[in-house]
């Protein structure tokens, strides 16, 4: 029932290309760990990221967005699909062949409390990747760590302090400095600002954008907060239950959402403005189904306002319905329909 896309959303020589990526987790039960089911965490995801570009990956808890980030870096072994870096297929690379790619691809984590080793000083944490990859020693390493500290807005005197002496926002700066230690090309941010207060969140978002401009970094920015994702990203992919349901540039996504889930997500985000009270709202019924037994057909049909009989049985691959605008929805079978409306003669 999974559908491989005929073409991937590709342009010439992207930094990252992901083709029909899948990551399934077996559920093991009992003393003999018998397989008792499968979590379809990522179930056929395709996208590209250009140099200097931010691709936002947004969705609700359990949609598989974090798993995409981890599988892309091969921190998790993909179940199926291909991962290409500058056209080179790294899917089957062993640890040794992965090493140069690990330097180019780094990660920033959500929880600035859990992701830093409490027994290492901040300077050691930031310098550790240089030790592992043997890129700098002694004074040279010290100097590079000091300049990284300055670049992310920390005083170099703090290099000898330990993580518990820093605030949440400062810890996230340490995590960012560490990710930049090996001058990577791609940084995957897994909810890097979600744990921070709004005034600190703005500081970190600005820092991430400045660093991108300065080093021509590519970001895969994974988050649940649509407003934050839209602010940081050039293009945005919306995920629902293991699949991308819509992918386009951020302005088009906001002005012309073509998937009913994107439409509902946009309308559910509260807007901090006086005029927000009177806007039209789409409120979805029910909860997100489990990725263990995802609904047949389009995964979203159980909550979709426009679902038809076809949606309940027939899944649809992500397809380019307008230039650069990819979506997986039957509503646009006979041409793009916007604003979204239930097909004539159907009961929604």
């Amino acid at each position: 029932m999974t559908v491989a896309p005929a073409t991937t959303p590709a342009r010439n020589a992207p930094l990252i290309e992901v083709r029909d990526l899948k990551k399934h987790f077996p559920i093991l039960k009992g003393v003999f760990s018998r397989p008792a089911g499968t979590v379809y965490a990522v179930d056929g995801v395709s996208f590209c990221i250009d140099r200097g570009e931010t691709l936002g990956l947004v969705g609700e808890s359990g949609c598989g967005k974090s798993t995409v980030g981890r599988t892309l870096l091969k921190l998790l072994e993909p179940t199926a699909g291909r991962i290409l870096v500058r056209g080179e297929d790294i899917t089957d690379h062993d640890q040794e062949r992965m090493l140069p790619f690990r330097r180019q691809m780094q990660m920033i984590y959500q929880d600035p409390y859990a992701s830093l080793n409490p027994r290492m000083s901040a300077g050691e944490i930031v310098g550790e990747p240089m030790v592992i990859h043997r890129v700098a020693d002694g004074d040279e390493r010290r100097d590079r760590v000091a300049s990284l500290f300055e670049r992310v807005g920390l005083r170099p005197e703090l290099m000898s302090a330990y993580p518990h002496e820093f605030s949440g926002g400062q810890r996230q700066r340490i995590g960012i400095a560490r990710a930049l230690a090996l001058s990577p090309e791609l940084v995957v941010g897994d909810e890097p600002v979600s744990a921070l207060d709004v005034s600190i969140q703005a500081q970190i978002i600005n820092l991430l954008m400045d660093l991108q401009d300065e080093f021509n970094l590519s970001y895969l920015f994974v988050a649940h907060d649509l407003a934050v994702v839209e602010h940081l990203s050039h293009r945005v992919a919306v995920m629902y239950l293991g699949r991308i349901v819509e992918l386009t540039d951020k302005t088009t996504l906001f002005e012309m959402p073509l998937h009913p889930y994107t439409e509902a997500l946009l309308s559910a985000v509260p807007i901090p403005k006086a005029s927000a009270r009177s806007r039209r709202r789409v409120i979805l019924k029910g909860d997100v189904p489990s990725p263990i037994n995802p609904p047949a057909g389009c995964h979203f049909h159980t909550r979709c306002l426009y679902a038809t009989a076809r949606c309940r049985t027939e899944a649809l691959a992500l397809r380019e319905v307008m230039p650069g605008h990819w979506t997986a929805c039957h509503l646009h079978d006979g041409g793009v329909k916007f604003p979204l409306a239930p097909p004539a003669g159907s009961s929604a």
Binding site: V198, L265, P270
Partner: protein, 343 residues
Amino acid sequence: MAVDVPPAPGQNILEIDDLHTHFFTQAGVVRAVDGVSYAVRAGETLGIVGESGCGKSVTALSVLRLVASPPGRIVGGAIRFDGANLLHLGESEMEAIRGNEISMIFQEPMTSLNPLMTVGRQIGEAVALHQGLAKKEAWARAVDMLRRVSIPEPERRFHAYPHQLSGGMRQRVMIAMALSCNPNVLIADEPTTALDVTIQAQILELMRELQETLGTAIILITHDMGVVAENADRVAVMYAGRKVEEAAAKTLFENPGHPYTRGLLGSIPKLDVAAHLDARRNRLTEIKGLVPSLHNLGEGCTFAPRCEFATDQCRAAYPPLVQHRPGHTIACWHADKFLADAA
């Protein structure tokens, strides 16, 4: 308690007056709530916003006298409800108010519900205790409440344990329990922060509907300016244990007066048309520095170290809360200037 007379809309139902709640720790006294006053009127939603550690939750816990003691203690002020100062009531009198006249819902429903009891029994017990209903009637009320918060198959869910429900369902159960005794005031402390955004929209809509039918006054505590803009009638902004600004929601978002409020609003990425007119990515307004530690606050304005407009006057003395327009109070020496700028 006296006969239950529903208060007229617009009348203050709960008043917090110059409340001081301090925590006495080894590292010194933490002035978590340092002279906070606000009132909520019958049938309205008052939003309380601020970042972590600003004292918004401790204020609410103080209302129900639920601050852990030691180390916490309410050291000054008054909380007036129904003609009484709650701070002077005995424990048994407080028990008659908690969950009955004033109830509370928390951020994480999983830790607030008893994992060993079916949700129906938990609701039924509260009703039986406060309303003096017999078991059978209380059970029937519980099922009715589950239905009112739109839980499908309420008769079946009555027998479910909290872990068998999703996060959104658990928060519905919490709301059902909180409203089961028809309280005059509902304190909702980050009620949707742990929920996904589509589920958050459902829960907030449910709270609005229930408020319309039951007339409950709601104190909505949140860090999310968007949630406040879309749900509160009036808003109080807190910073470092004090209220720095209060206004009608419309006024606060259109013409904020305190530099902290203005900074907060500028620092949030907004998902609206204006943000997309320019396809480039704009930098957000930053509030420099960190939230101060509540141990050693000086004499001056607590926001002055982070405020780009701070003057010697700001560093010397904390500004009083002044009413600049009807219903719009601000604690800032230079608020007039900011209001004039915006006009």
